[in-house]
């Protein structure tokens, strides 16, 4: 007889799960493994709501396993550590992002790029093993995938950095778009985009926000510190900015044309995709050749650089702009997220609102 989520592991746990592709979340009693030698167990304080959570619970990518407990922007306080754990101790503040495991022996793992390991284990809805995410009362995770939380980084505003933050920080570093004086565009002003603007400004980069929504200009410039704003569907605005950008971080996961963005790049410019539309893009070859431009992708970041990003954020006082919600608001939050109606990340106050009956 197969075991249920409630009985498969010895330690009881409580969370919010989607049961089918309607994506509606409701309380679930489940269970987690005991704290192994290399494990860190922690009480979840807060968990960010990532757009990936929404895609996943609705099975947009056709890989959902139900019941699904999402959440991969998790912060909390350590309650127990295994005997071999060195990184943290009971009482420490910690975070867990999008990964909880990898093979630890391939070229990618050796290069601290666990996210590209072919056996990477996602924090929730992973393929080979069943994992449950941070919309839950506590987590247990291998030490390697635990992020130490800096003293001076707020937990609630910092939680979204564990996915949104690293997703934009990593390509800025890897593709060299982090040099003072560079000019970089950010396409889309949502969870990823707003954090992207803040990191780029901290690097000393000149930032242009590119959006389809003219109403976002005010906050892009006044609140987030962007240097300029351009409406992507406005031909004259695009024309005026042709050939001016060293790079562009494209956070948009809705369908949108790449050609105007490629034209904005200087020679040797880089268009980096971190959002993934479900339908393929049309990629014209000529604009890439005449300018030696590139289109690259990037997926979250490795654990080492996630820690580096969190420490950088603490130093430069970068936190996400959040709307703090009780867990029973989550379904409304998902509806609003679908309509991009949030400035810019929901964060669930797990510790204070996820209660057993």
């Amino acid at each position: 007889m197969g075991s249920s989520p409630e009985t498969e592991h010895p330690v009881k746990a409580l969370g919010y799960a989607a049961r089918d592709s309607s994506g509606v979340l409701s309380p679930i009693n489940f269970s987690r493994r005991e704290t192994g030698n290399e494990d860190v167990r922690f009480k979840v304080l807060y968990c960010g709501v990532c757009h990936t959570d929404l895609h996943s619970i609705k099975n947009d990518w056709l890989n959902a396993k139900y019941p699904m407990i999402p959440g991969h922007e998790i912060v909390g306080v350590v309650t127990e550590v295994g005997s071999k754990v060195k990184k943290v101790k009971v009482g420490d503040k910690v975070g867990v992002g999008c990964m909880v495991g990898s093979c630890r022996s391939c070229d990618q793992c050796d290069a601290d790029q666990e996210q590209y390991c072919s056996k990477m284990v996602a924090t929730y809805n992973s393929h080979a093993v069943v994992t449950y995410g941070g919309y839950s009362d506590h987590m247990v995770c291998n030490e390697h995938f635990i992020i130490s939380w800096p003293e001076d980084l707020p937990l609630d505003g910092g939680a979204p950095l564990l996915c949104a933050g690293i997703t934009v920080y990593s390509p800025m570093r890897y593709y060299g778009l982090d040099k003072p004086g560079m000019h970089v565009g950010v396409v889309g002003l949502g969870g990823l985009g707003h954090v992207g603007v803040m990191f780029l400004k901290a690097f000393g980069v000149k930032v242009t926000v590119i959006s389809t929504n003219p109403n976002k200009k005010e906050e892009a410039v006044s609140k987030l510190g962007a240097d300029s704003f351009l409406v992507s569907r406005d031909q004259p605005q695009i024309q005026a900015a042709v050939g001016t950008m060293d790079g562009i971080i494209d956070t948009v996961s809705a369908d949108h044309p790449l050609t105007p963005l490629i034209r904005l790049l200087k020679p040797n410019g880089k268009l980096i995709l971190v959002g993934a539309p479900t339908t393929p893009h049309d990629l014209p070859a000529f604009p890439l050749l005449y300018g030696r431009k590139l289109v690259g992708g990037s997926l979250i970041g490795g654990i080492k650089e996630t820690q580096e990003m969190i420490d950088f954020a603490a130093k430069h006082k970068i936190t996400a702009a959040i709307e703090f919600i009780p867990v029973d608001y989550i379904n409304t939050a998902m509806e609003r997220l679908q309509k991009s109606n949030v400035r810019y990340r929901f964060v669930i106050d797990i510790a204070n609102t996820l209660k057993s009956d």
Binding site: P267, H281, D282, A285, G296
Partner: protein, 360 residues
């Protein structure tokens, strides 16, 4: 009244030109400017035929003005130099590739990347600084600004070296720039034509392990035995492609026909690079997640700057890299163009200009 090609400049010249979109070439008497202070004038010995010549004479890119004299893989011997010329003297062997001018003041020019200058001047069919149109190497002689003239290494054959001036630099440049030039790297080459065979030769000279991707199974023997590629994969065979999944550091894609790139992205390792040097007309279909899931890139690259073209020629001379050519008399050029359309050449035609182009 507009001047004719024959009278617009003081020095008589003759060549082979296309006069209309049929692309058929025939003798043309025209003229070139006098040798300016910074100019190098040379007798053309050989000129390679690039597939771009064919696109251009048929006005496939929409900006051809007739008559057009193609040819941007030309080598020859200097007959006159301007009094400010420092690098060359009469009797030197030289080459000219795809560019004869640029703005010389933008960021790209300052970085020795004249090929990315927005005001670059192509060797043929383009307005020069003086407003007249440029004429290429299917002609008896050439005059060009010293900056755009390449010094020909002593031990590099002129005839089989000529195609390096376009096909060679077009594949050498991205192998260098994208770091695919380290010994032991695994590099793919898509398409085995003029560009493809040059890419294989340079990649092998860099010490790479080379896989050729082709839709033509019959090319396997020449790829492995003739060009010394290490592997050969028929790109339309899913099983063969699957066996190469996630194995390559980079791929140089020379194919200009429309083709799917998703299978090529899948054979790249994480951080792998797909570089397009052929220019398909229609957009390619790109699934963003295929790049995201492995931090892969697709880039374009077009010829190379003058400094790196010289570096490429010197490298080719040192490592014995030359093109595989079929030497032809100039009156064979129309047949050659038809054969290029059918990919019926191993791998570049080179016109024996000096011995077959006769004064009218």
């Amino acid at each position: 009244m507009a001047k004719s090609p024959e009278s617009e400049h003081p020095i008589k010249a003759y060549g082979y030109a296309a006069r209309d979109t049929s692309g058929l070439l025939s003798p043309l008497t025209f003229s070139r400017r006098a040798t300016g202070d910074k100019d190098v004038r040379f007798k053309v010995l050989y000129c390679g035929i690039c597939h771009s010549d064919l696109h251009f004479v048929k006005n496939e890119w929409g900006f051809t003005t007739y008559p057009v004299i193609p040819g941007h893989e030309m080598v020859g011997v200097v007959t006159e130099v301007g009094n400010k010329v420092e690098k060359f003297k009469v009797g030197d062997k030289v080459g000219v590739g795809c560019l004869v001018g640029s703005c010389r003041s933008c960021q790209s020019c300052a970085n020795d990347l004249e090929n990315y200058c927005p005001k670059q001047i192509l060797t043929y069919g383009f307005p020069y600084h003086d407003g007249t149109r440029t004429y290429g190497g299917y002609s008896d002689h050439m005059v060009a600004d010293e900056h755009f003239v390449l010094s020909w290494p002593e031990n590099l054959p002129l005839d089989s070296g000529a195609p390096l001036l376009c096909a060679g630099i077009t594949t050498y440049s991205p192998l260098r720039h994208f770091g695919l030039d380290k010994p032991g790297m695994k590099v793919g080459v898509v398409g085995l034509g003029g560009l493809g065979h040059a890419a294989v030769k340079f990649a092998k000279a860099f010490g790479a392990e080379v896989t050729v991707f082709s839709t033509t199974p019959a090319k396997k023997q020449e790829a492995l035995e003739g060009l010394k590629a290490d592997h050969f994969i028929v790109s339309k065979d899913p099983e063969q492609m699957k066996s190469a999944a996630s194995s390559l550091d980079g791929i140089i894609d020379t194919v200009s026909a429309t083709h799917p790139i998703a299978p090529l992205i899948s054979v790249l390792k994480p951080d792998g690079k797909l570089v397009l040097v052929g220019a398909p007309e229609k957009p390619l279909e790109l699934a963003a997640f295929s790049l995201i899931a492995g931090r892969k890139i697709i880039a374009g690259s077009a010829i190379g700057g003058l400094k790196e073209t010289q570096e490429m020629l010197d490298f080719a001379a040192k490592h014995g890299v030359t093109a595989d050519i079929e030497l032809i008399p100039i009156d064979y050029v129309n047949t050659a163009m038809e054969r290029i359309l059918k990919s019926d050449v191993r791998y570049r035609f080179v016109i024996d200009v000096a011995n077959s182009l006769k004064a009218p």
